[in-house]
Amino acid sequence: MKERLIQSMAWLHTWGGLLPGWLLFVIFFAGTLSCFDKEISQWMRPSTHAVAQNGGGFSFDRSLRLVEEIAPETSSIWLRAPMERDPLPIIGWNNAGQEFDYHYLQADGGTVLQNNTRGGDLFFRLHYRLDIPNDLGVFLVGFAGMCMLVALVTGVIIHRRIFKDFFTFRPKGSKQRAWLDAHNVSSVLPLPFHLVITYTGLVIFFLTYFPAGMHSAFGGDEEKFYKAAEGGFHREAGGRPAPLHALDPLVARAEQEWGDGQKALWVNIEHPGDSNAVVVVWRAQPKDEIAWISDAVYFDGVSGAVLHRLEPAGIGHHIEHFLSGLHFAQFGGQTIRWLYLFMGLSGCLMIASGMGFWIEKRRQRHVLSNAAAGFFLVRGLNAAAITGLIIASAVYLLSNRLLPAGVDHAAWELGLFYFSWIAASLHALARAKSQRLWTEQLWTAAILWGSIPLINLLTTDNSHLLATLPAGQWSLAGVDLMAILFGLSLGAVAWKLRHKKMHELESAGAGVLLAPRERQS
């Protein structure tokens, strides 16, 4: 009975892990980079680095005037103050039923930033919706996330020596053994992280994945549900024009109401210029909470009288905010973010080594039989998803520094990202039968990531490590340091695989995967 259970769980683990494995690697790697999405965005806007940040220049009223210049007729305006991790102010607006339009401002808050980039937002959107604009991406990620949970649970069941082999890694044994050990170690040691990050990731989209409860209680009216869950205040436009109250005094009143030196982060204006205008001042996230804590004061946009104060979230809503807060890792500062980065990389290693093990286990059998086409397809796709994405991400960052100033950065960077990913994938599929596939891809990735700090040094005046480290600009320096870390680790793996190959070829005589030309060399 027990043996049968383990066998069927092993089957589920193998196929439930392999088939969404390519998707899972993309989600994990993009998620890992998203630990530093705001830092990457900041890094990719070098024209703002030299401008004195926040030199007393920011004011909500000043940002509002910029919106009025660009979009004088709009029904809703959002303004964001500079944040520690995201020092550029944001202005945004939309008209009823239209897409939200937003722009970053120059660091002094005086002008709208031209020639924008998608920055770290690309990795964030790749992480939670595969950069697909409609809900399909969210559902694909949810499907992969469910598979991941199944793979984690079945993995624990089929791992017979989870405690005995807790510290075991045997890189000098057979290649199959080494892959399995690496897979076990990178799965078991950060297992609490893997479980929590996968589960909380699914929780964030619970309304999209399981809308049944909301539908039965609120008759499918999503807006009604959110109003009941989050509270808030809304009123229709009055239709008569009226001048808007100055924003900064309202912000000061809201901050006084919160006390404890809490600062406003967002200001939202509904129906600006109307007699029924509402100004909502949203508080920044408190520094000592994992759960996202919303708090807002609603003012009459004309008289400036207080209309409403947001109630604290109910217990169910608070738990949901706690779980998504654990996932978003916006708490605990740089320490938590670097730890998440590290554990995210362990997750990438877990997925990659799991797929590597699948290949190694089947190598002899499939290469000697005639039914090897599927096997080589998997091998090529593994490299396309794993090293292909790693290469494309480096190209994306490099293109930001190397593209000339005149071109549309956002479009070209994105284009080069996908172009290099496709190119790396074609190389992977073309070289799927070659023993050198992995080392070629890994060396390319290592060189590209390693060159990021150097290219940065050559192309910028204020944004490279020699400038940011002495100035203590850790969020900018962090991106270069991360690139060095990636370059070195990828290089180390490439170096190891090269040695392994030689070693194993000699001892096992397993040259079957080699193309004839390479076998001679």
Binding site: K164, F166, F167, T168, F169, R170, P171, K172, V185, S186, L189, P190, P192, F193, D288, E289, I290, L326, F331, G332, T335, I336, L339, Y340, F342, M343, S346
Partner: protein
């Protein structure tokens, strides 16, 4: 404080690792098992695990401390496991040197 918590976690894992005969033989090169010291390693390891948890909670509070601790457990574990096959003696020595070094940094 983070450095201290990380090195405590590392030492804890090293002790637990040494309480297992195969790793003990690998690190020390001894032919026989270590019946008597085994229990000592195991108890010491768990004590240090508890201590590292306490130091995380002490430094970062009950909300962030446990999250940080899980991260440090993973980091220390991966460091130990990937060091062990290549430099077993260094890996074990680091368990003694790291907490002392961290304490020194903490005092300075």
């Amino acid at each position: 404080m983070l450095l201290l918590a990380l090195s405590l976690t590392y030492s804890a894992y090293t002790l637990l690792c040494l309480s297992m005969p195969k790793h003990y033989r690998h690190v020390t090169g001894a032919a026989a098992d270590h019946r008597r010291s085994r229990r000592l390693f195991r108890v010491g390891g768990w004590l240090l695990i508890a201590l590292s948890f306490a130091s995380c909670v002490q430094a970062a509070g009950w909300q962030f401390g446990p999250v940080q601790w899980v991260g440090l457990l993973a980091a220390a574990g991966v460091l130990l496991v990937f060091l062990l096959p290549y430099k077993p003696k260094t890996a074990a020595g680091l368990a003694v040197v790291a907490p002392l070094g961290a304490l020194l940094v903490y005092w300075i």
